[in-house]
């Protein structure tokens, strides 16, 4: 139990660079897909009361809930994202998104070239079009929030 908790903490603080490093060491898409699924299982718990209609991201075949909010850490206002899905592979993609956007201000999120990241990971190539649409739906949701709150 303690080990599992420690691992989950580790993943939660995994930076996108660390994630990419592990991801790119894997042999092929099969292994990468398994890795994404593992990441999905380690996603922070998403409160059930947030699973409401207004938090649903449209454009996904699977259900995706996403909540973005402001948190203040070390005197800096950052965007915090929580998300969940009924699809394990989508949960893995959420983990990638959270790593890419973690500890970022609204402006930094807007400045992040997330497409380049997806391209580098080969996601556009390996995901079905509905999954790609869903992923872009999530990105849009986060970017809209960031655009409203960027200073």
């Amino acid at each position: 139990m303690i080990l599992a908790a420690a691992e989950s903490l580790q993943v939660r603080t995994m930076t996108i660079d660390e994630l990419l490093e592990e991801f790119e060491e894997l042999l092929d898409w099969e292994e990468q897909c398994d890795f994404l699924i593992d990441l999905g299982f380690e996603l922070p718990h998403f409160p059930v009361e947030l699973k409401c209609d207004e938090n649903i991201v449209r454009g996904c075949q699977s259900l995706v809930w996403l909540v973005a909010e402001h948190v203040v850490g070390n005197g800096v206002s950052m965007v915090s994202i929580q998300a969940d899905s009924d699809s394990m592979i989508v949960k893995g993609l959420i983990a990638v998104l959270l790593a890419a956007y973690s500890k970022k201000t609204a402006q930094q999120i807007l400045d992040t070239d997330i497409e380049a990241l997806f391209e580098r990971m080969g996601l556009n190539q390996h995901l079905s079009s509905t999954r790609r649409n869903g992923l872009h739906g999530m990105v849009q949701r986060v970017r809209c929030f960031a655009a409203e709150h960027a200073v």
Partner: protein
């Protein structure tokens, strides 16, 4: 299924006639369980397409040269094969179109527009593919008619006890699939025809799923229109068929104009050729329509007795083994009332994840709403995984499906 049938039917020999299935993929032997979306083609169909392209291709019903004449002969021969295959009394009742979807639109608007009035009723079922649902919905909206649904039983069959209350004097059209593309449910077409004709309504049958897997007899069933596509019956894409009863073909109007569908054209007006030409605007999918005849020959050669017995044995084997998997729900009626299509869900396993994991074992299924959103709403799920079987599938494919489902459960930590 009797033992005699299984002895006569050599599934591997059938499978070996499909080049696409004889490949070795990185993940293994391709296990194609998505034939309800589109079936693979045997060598004879591919060779027929090649023969036309390489030996005598020309436009149809136009050039009076040797290629043109040969094309006309081949097309008419294919038309006759199709007529015989579905029990039509004449090849003139067979029009080529682009596919089931266009065909159903041609029937809905070509026959319905001008005949369906405000307050009339169009009856469909909740298990229709969007191609046999949306055209009727749109026709109803355009004309002020009312779209009514036949209710389903708990096991997703048409509720026959409601036929008299739903199909009434106000009904103009009953549009029904002969076999559900999601559940595999086989609908009682001839019974519906009796109810519909008794009140003066016509019956339009979506035969996309049924025609490839069971014997069709439009004359015995007395259907008014039947539409199906080429690519689900081991033929090419881009070609479909509209069958119409002779009197209905007199009534139907074209909705696509140009090409040899006219009798005469002046600046002021145009007159229409009679069917089948009337519904064949523009250049036909010539190669595809000819190769569809080859596909039909191929199916005839095996014969529906064996096709049905084999597909039903696959359905039973797959259903029994899937039901052993914890958390399994199979939608629709029992195997007695359906074709070889299984739509299922496993608790805590998203259909898209499942399909992706199955694909890693070269098991190709479809996931989603299968172009039948009203049905999925009724089933209370947004998506299902669908395994659909065809004559080239084998018991080895059933084993592969079960192994792949177990693999998915393991990877997604359900075991």
């Amino acid at each position: 299924m009797s033992d005699t049938n299984s002895e006569q039917f050599d599934a591997e020999a059938v499978r070996s006639q499909f080049p696409v299935l004889n490949q070795k993929l990185k993940q293994g032997r391709p296990v194609f369980l998505d034939s309800a979306a589109s079936a693979q083609k045997p060598n004879v169909v591919i060779e027929k397409e090649r023969e036309v392209e390489e030996q005598y291709f020309a436009n149809a019903y136009r050039g009076r040269h040797s290629f043109g004449e040969r094309i006309n002969e081949e097309l008419e021969s294919s038309r006759q094969k199709i007529a015989d295959f579905i029990g039509a009394s004449s090849a003139a009742q067979i029009s080529f179109t682009a596919g089931t979807t266009l065909g159903l639109n041609q029937v809905a608007f070509g026959w319905g527009r001008g005949r369906v009035q405000a307050g009339d009723e169009i009856v469909v079922t909740p298990m229709e593919h969007h191609a046999n649902f949306v055209p009727w919905q749109q026709l109803a909206m355009e004309t002020g008619a009312i779209l009514k649904l036949l209710p389903l039983t708990d096991d997703a069959r048409l509720d026959a006890s409601a036929f008299t209350s739903v199909i009434t004097e106000r009904t103009k059209i009953v549009a029904v699939t002969a076999m559900s593309n999601v559940l595999g449910t086989i609908n009682p077409v001839s019974e519906l025809v009796r109810y519909a004709h008794a009140v003066g309504a016509i019956v339009v049958v979506d035969g996309a799923q049924s025609v490839p897997h069971s014997l069709t007899d439009v004359t015995a069933d007395d259907v008014d229109f039947l539409v199906f596509g080429g690519h689900k019956i081991y033929g090419p894409t881009g070609v479909g068929v509209i069958y119409g009863r002779a009197d209905r073909l007199e009534e139907i109007q074209p909705i696509v104009f140009g090409g040899h569908m006219v009798s005469d054209v002046s600046v002021e007006r145009s007159g229409w050729a009679s069917c089948p030409a009337r519904l064949e605007a523009g250049t036909l999918p010539i190669v595809q329509a000819i190769a569809l005849g080859a596909a039909i020959d191929w199916v005839n050669e095996i014969g529906f007795d064996l096709v049905q017995a084999h597909e039903h044995s696959l359905l039973l084997a797959a259903t029994n083994r899937l039901m052993e998997i914890p958390g399994m729900t199979i939608f629709g009626p029992s195997s007695d009332y359906k074709g070889a299509i299984i739509a299922f869900r496993i608790d805590n396993l998203h259909p898209e994840d499942l399909a992706a994991m199955l694909d890693r074992r070269a098991v190709m299924t479809r996931h989603g709403h299968h172009c039948a959103m009203p049905l999925h709403e009724l089933l209370g799920v947004t998506a299902t995984t669908r395994a659909s079987f065809a004559v080239y599938n084998t018991l080895e494919d059933v084993d592969a499906l079960i192994d792949a489902v177990q693999f998915a459960r393991q990877k997604l930590r359900l075991v």
